[in-house]
Amino acid sequence: MIFWKLFCTFCKIGIFNFGGGYAMIALIQNEVVEKQGWMTMAEFTDIVATSQVTPGPIGINVATYAGYTAVVNAGYDPFWGVAGAFLASFSVILLPFVLVLLISKYLLGHKDNPVIKTVMSVLKLTVIGLIAAAAALLVNAETFGTYAENPLQFFLSIGLFAAAFIASLKWKVSPILQIVIAGVVGGIVYYVFM
């Protein structure tokens, strides 16, 4: 039953997410693309792109959109897709929410505990590897195209990747602007000229 699986999967994603929206993207990618096969890598990439240009926490946006896509791809009506979307965003919040309340109530004084600090710094380092793996897994024919099939798309993809990478690190250009520009470039080159 896809709804039960959706619930369990996104509960797991929520409680194992340390380190922000990008870490959550890594977890969701592994669960919904690799393990459950609910969508393709290209679909997932499109979901991440859309989630970055709309308001709200990226984790919530990706969960909502992925929940909808998973259910619709499984052959259900859009109505059930909407139910899947709400279920996924509810599940992803549920366990951390309970944990926040429990900790707020009983354990607030312990957050300066040195052991917890060490655990957090190890997790922080691990999450960097997690995100790096997510990025590496996204470098494939679905996102970049192939040289054999369409050399122009392949080289343009590499160019756009390099430009976005430098723009993010060196000039700190906002992701929204980058996605909008890449969308315009893609629309013009691939639709108008090809």
């Binding site: 997410n17 926490p57 919530i60 959109y65 922080k124 960097i128 995100i131 992701p175």
Partner: protein, 183 residues
Amino acid sequence: MASLGQLFWSFFKIGTFTIGGGYAMIPLMEKELVDRHGWVTRDEFMGIITLAQTLPGIFAANMAAHIGWRLRGVPGAVTAVIGNILVPILIILALAMGLHYLQGNAVVEAVFKGIRPVVVALIAAPVFRMAKTARISLRNFWIPVLAALLIWLLGISPVWVILAAGIGGFVYGKYLEKKEVQS
């Protein structure tokens, strides 16, 4: 003291008017909760940020849950979280439905063909930014490298990697780190 309606409205504004993820909400939260309403002091606010970052889950939802709880108990926590994510969920849902409807449309496909490699770069870039803030050194750089290789090449689930890191960090912090300091 805050009413549930005020709490909802404040988090509604915070969630609706920030694009770019949870951390982008911090300035607006500070303005709304500290400066405008005085529901928490600036010091408390900083403490809550640390708490929300330390706990698993979604940063913005954790912030909303804790501040809502502080002001109005469990109903306050539920109200703040719903206020924070309601509009974002509806917007992304509308887009999801629209884009599914347009699936196979040549223009949409062309646009996303351009966007996909940029998304990969947007996910790769924070790796280097985070590496700086996490104080990577010769002694600990094997941790992220090993984590990445386990997931990327061996296909191990990130969940297991996180679990192992948590347990490893706990054992190290509890039994090994202290001895190093003493000796």
